[in-house]
């Protein structure tokens, strides 16, 4: 029965997938003809989602109805005797007692019961409902398809939404009504059965049954003495298993979550190295986002200052590069320095190289930030703003780390190379390759620069940050859930497809520009291909949670992983959606891109790095951050990110449409003001969350643990005894 249902569910999913894909085809062919088509996508998508939910609702109802029909049929063709036996075996002690008492009196009264009949009425009612529902779905499709370009008008969109709200509410209402009806009917049937059962019970049982029942009653009345296992002696903890009992926990402000378990045998040299990486990363996060926050405010208050070093064009790359190379890169590397030796089951080969790498990268970001503010940059390509001598420091840092990791892996004591190390080492290789490609000048005259730029900036995001972060998640997430990764093979599939498709997509930042058309097309195709690794990866992570979902509420790290996974799925697929030519018309050059990069670099990378930081520091230092500030950090960051991105995406879409309509450019600037304000608000919340994060890191690394009364007392005792001798 269950398997059958599942089969049906899968069939249904395929059906709806077919629906979606046919929609996509339709959208493409239409895009060429009607200029206004692109702005319909949102509405159409909404309608299709609605239809999808309708179908799901109908499917659910259908299953329910089938259940009902089966129940009815069983009721009709049932074998009375065995049926009652089932009930007789299931009587409770009180019921048996009542029955035995009742049957003694033995007054038989008969009652006729009639059964069946009106279920046909119910059936036909439901069929009607289904029909009306499905016709409604068809209607929705027809309407959206037929009206063409008029749908682009804001008024029409609003009208459609207004229409959909009551219709949708009505459908939900109907579903509830039908479910209620089904319940009623079920109860009706049960009452009929109850009546029959009562009638059956009104005859007194034969001797056998009576004996059985009495025996059953005795069994049911059996009670434990509660001392079967413990015996009657008082409890004693001979093995010392129970420690630090608190009987008075006070009134907690936040729910108590599980403490991190201290890891045994972490080399203190490694612990120190990892903590320094994370500490430096934390500094760059605060620095980079303070700059970002200020840059965001400048959209609302352009005359905030008139200093050349703080002007928008100079500060923007300071922000992006500091959070990229300072925060995210150092944070990831710090976490990786723990993972690589751990899964190789081998000590890190060279701590010295690790420290050199740390200082080189820090020096690169420090010098880079200063030089950018002084007006020295590499001529404009995003994330390629540091000039080559500065980026060279970063590159040497990566080389040292790569050699270090490769040597550690070479000397591993495990046979397999755990998948985390695939991703981490690959990310280092790719990071070096793209830096070399981007900074070697031979092929970068004219448009060559732009082709390389598209490649470089997107590979930086996908093959350096995303690749390494995925590697980290493959270690830290299973560790936190205390269960292995759901599928190793999916991880391998995601690995190779990520390389295959991601490498192609760079130039989708220059769609419709003068770089070769075929290259743009390759990038768009690659962007669609990215669906494979993204779906494989996020499915793998989500299924690793399977059976462990309850752990989320007990843990203060798992929510960070979960948010990261959700944004990994949504943010990455949003990237695919943005790559199409039709969506490029509307979104390219607007702040939609900015919102997207924050959804991904912040929602995915930063949340995952935070998750790793909260996972690993307590295990290295033995200290934990106060739960209330971890919670504050999480919620401020998440809410801030949504405040930042959602209004910006909405406003940018409308801005893009204004451009397409040929409205004066200045109108679109004026129009954007409220969305920029929202962005500043969201950015401020994110920034506040970072203050909490910095505090938490301080508490975890440098914070003084609260004085333990017992330990302090014994210390004193030791001192005094030393004094007397």
């Amino acid at each position: 029965m269950k398997r059958k249902n599942r089969l049906k569910l899968i069939r249904g999913l395929f059906l709806s997938a077919g629906l979606f894909s046919s929609y996509a085809l339709y959208a493409q062919s239409e895009a060429k003809r009607a200029y206004y088509f692109t702005d319909l996508n949102g509405v159409l998508l909404f309608l299709f989602v609605l239809v999808f939910f309708l179908l799901a609702g109908i499917w659910y109802l259908k299953i329910k109805i089938r259940e009902m029909v089966k129940m009815n049929r069983r009721l009709k063709n049932r074998n009375n005797e065995t049926d009652f036996d089932k009930y007789m075996k299931d009587l409770s002690s009180d019921q048996i007692e009542a029955y035995l008492k009742y049957s003694k009196q033995d007054d038989a009264s008969s009652a006729e019961s009639s059964n069946g009949g009106n279920n046909t009425a119910l059936k036909s009612g439901i069929v009607f409902l289904l029909l009306s529902l499905s016709s409604l779905g068809l209607f929705a499709q027809d309407r959206s398809g037929g009206k063409g370009s008029v749908l682009g008008e804001t008024g029409i969109i609003i009208t459609i939404f207004l229409l959909i709200i009551p219709i949708g509410a009505g459908i939900v209402f109907m579903i509830f009504k039908v479910l209620k009806l089904i319940n009623q009917k079920k109860n009706q049937l049960n009452l009929i059965r109850a009546e029959e059962l009562a009638q059956h019970l009104s005859h007194s049982p034969d001797a056998d049954t009576r004996r059985d029942l009495i025996k059953r009653k005795e069994a049911l009345d059996f009670k434990l003495t509660h001392s079967e296992l413990s015996g009657n002696l008082p409890a004693e903890d001979k093995k010392g298993l129970i420690t630090s009992i608190t009987t008075d926990s006070g009134l907690p402000v936040v729910t108590q979550k599980k403490k991190a378990i201290k890891r045994p045998n972490v080399d203190p040299r490694l612990a120190k190295l990892v903590l320094w990486y994370i500490g430096c990363a934390t500094f760059w996060l605060l620095f980079g986002t303070t700059v970002g926050e200020y840059v965001g405010i400048k959209f609302v208050a352009p005359d905030a200052d008139h200093l050349s070093w703080l002007s928008f064009g100079r500060l923007r790359p300071v922000h992006t590069n500091a959070v990229f190379w300072g925060w995210a890169s150092l944070g990831m590397l710090g976490l990786a320095y723990y993972v690589v030796p751990r899964v190789s089951n081998r000590e890190l080969v060279s701590f010295k190289m690790g420290w050199y790498s740390l200082w080189l990268i820090n020096a690169a970001v420090l010098l880079g930030s200063i030089s950018l503010m002084a007006g020295i940059n590499n001529a404009g390509g995003e994330y390629r703003e540091y000039i080559w001598p500065i980026m060279l420091l970063f590159g040497i840092g990566l080389v040292l780390t790569l050699i270090n990791f490769l040597k550690t892996i070479a000397r591993r004591t495990t046979k397999e190379i755990y998948i985390s190390n695939w991703y981490i080492v690959a990310a280092l290789i790719f990071g070096l390759v793209i830096s070399l490609v981007a900074y070697i000048p031979w092929w970068q005259d004219g448009l060559g620069e732009t082709i390389v730029q598209g490649y470089y900036m997107h590979m930086g995001v996908g093959m350096w940050f995303m690749m390494m972060t995925l590697g980290l998640v493959y270690y830290y997430l299973p560790q936190q859930l205390n269960r292995p990764i759901y599928s190793y093979s999916l991880g391998i599939l995601a690995y190779w497809t990520q390389i295959l498709f991601y490498t192609l997509i760079g130039t989708h930042h220059f769609v419709f520009s003068s770089i070769p058309w075929w290259l743009q097309t390759v990038a768009i195709v690659g962007s669609v291909g990215m669906v494979i690794p993204v779906v494989a990866g996020s499915t793998n992570f989500i299924l690793t949670f399977k059976g462990g979902w309850h752990k989320i509420s007990d843990s203060y790290t798992l929510p960070f992983y979960l948010v990261g996974i959700i944004f990994y799925f949504t943010g990455s697929l949003q990237g695919t959606a943005e790559a199409f030519r039709s969506t490029n018309l509307m979104w390219h050059f607007t702040d939609f891109t900015v919102a997207h990069s924050h959804l991904t670099m912040y929602g995915i990378i930063t949340f995952f790095v935070w998750a790793g930081v909260y996972t690993i520091i307590p295990r290295l230092s033995g200290k934990e951050a106060p739960q209330i500030t971890v919670g504050a950090h999480f919620w401020f960051a998440l809410i801030g990110l949504l405040f930042y991105t959602v209004p910006l995406m909405y406003g940018s879409t409308l801005k893009g449409l204004m451009w397409m309509e040929g409205k004066p450019f200045l109108d679109s600037v004026v129009f954007s003001a409220p969305y920029w304000l929202w962005r500043a608000v969201g950015g401020s919340l994110m920034w506040i969350s970072h203050i909490f994060f910095v505090y938490n890191v301080y508490k975890m690394i440098g914070g003084k643990a609260i004085v333990d009364v017992k330990e302090a007392a014994f210390e004193k005792l030791a001192q005094t005894s030393a004094g007397t001798h």
């Binding site: 200029y35 790359p317 020295i376 695939w422 092929w443 702040d591 891109t593």
Partner: protein
């Protein structure tokens, strides 16, 4: 699998796959592009000042908000008469030993595209005022102000370029605002940004995703007039302002202007098409040939003129596109 357990094989395969794809989608196309494209014969190389101005443009990260590419889509028509092509960028080479090539194509259009700004806004005075503080001329602008590219002098010398900045933007300081070399170089660079025409009358590639023409003839056959206010906003407003009053001492007022209110529209059409330098004595800089530079049609000019003739308390007779067409023809033959 043995292959996956051998770190040399695994990471070599990873490396080779990535490098192979990199060569295909980045390095080879970049080389090919470099080899197959030469600068247009009509393209004017940057002057010495403009080269220095480009360095200023790069140093201040202008590319963060300004693109320099007219995409091959209809909506980008505002920024240039033809789509940008690879040849437009062919003459760009590595900036110097320390810095990369700067095509400055950009990925964000927080501000307007500048591919053709030298044609669209050639006025030195406007650019300098705008650079000192964009909100002097465009109230709604969110562009940063660059006052550090200017100095204050009580007695500017003969060669000093004085910028007419309203007192409220001087924040209580006194003196004349004088543009530094940096500002002048930057403006020289902006003025040099012009789309070069394609050689020997070769047709430019067509813009894609054409907008459906809205101005369909109505039922009675009349063609609805173009939106003069919108055209004014795009072509004229940055100097003459939304209220038509211009900027005192910098850009003349159109409100109550003799030329605008003249029953004979000839002089006004001439100024729009070919620019004007008749009021330099009063301190007003020459007006650029907006109509010619921006390829305005007779219909568009008529719509702009009617907006100017009937707004802000102006009430002159409206003109018709046919009338304007005639004047344009007459002016053409005059020039000949």
């Amino acid at each position: 699998m043995e292959f996956f357990d051998n770190y040399k094989k695994l990471f070599s395969a990873t490396f080779l796959l990535f490098v192979g794809l990199t060569i295909l989608v980045a390095i080879l196309p970049a080389f090919r592009n470099e080899k197959n494209n030469a600068p247009l014969p009509n393209a004017v190389p940057l002057s010495e000042d403009a080269v220095k101005g480009k360095a200023v443009y790069i140093a201040n990260g202008c590319v963060a908000c300004h693109t320099q590419q007219v995409r091959i889509v209809d909506m980008d028509k505002t920024w240039g008469p033809r789509p940008s092509i690879a040849a437009d960028y062919a003459d760009m080479h590595r900036t110097d030993f320390w810095r990369n090539t700067a095509t400055l194509m950009g990925t964000e259009r927080t501000g307007p595209d500048l591919t053709n700004i030298g044609n669209r806004q050639p006025s030195l005075e406007w650019n300098l005022v705008h650079l000192y503080n964009p909100r002097i001329v465009v109230k709604e602008s969110v562009m940063p102000a660059y006052p550090w590219m200017f100095t204050l002098k009580t007695n500017p010398g003969k060669d000093d370029v004085v910028v007419n900045v309203p007192a409220e933007y001087l924040k209580g300081k006194s003196g004349k605002v004088v543009a530094t070399k940096q500002a002048l170089h930057l403006v020289a660079y902006l003025q040099s940004l012009k789309q070069a025409p394609l050689p020997d009358g070769r047709p430019a590639p067509e813009f894609l995703y054409k907008r459906e023409v809205k101005a369909l003839p109505a039922a009675d056959g009349t063609i609805p007039a173009l939106d003069g206010a919108a055209l004014y906003a795009v072509n004229c407003q940055s100097c003459h302002q939304a209220n038509g009053e211009g900027l005192q001492g910098a850009f003349p007022s159109l409100k109550g202007s003799k030329i605008v209110l003249d029953d004979n529209p000839e002089a006004m059409v001439d100024i729009i098409l070919h620019g004007y330098n008749g009021r330099e004595k009063e301190g007003f800089p020459p007006m650029p040939a907006i109509g010619t530079d921006n390829n305005l049609s007779a219909e568009e000019i008529a719509a702009i003129m009617n907006h100017e003739r009937t707004s802000w308390g102006n009430s002159a007779k409206e003109v018709t596109p046919a009338q304007i067409k005639e004047i344009i023809e007459a002016l053409k033959s005059d020039v000949k």
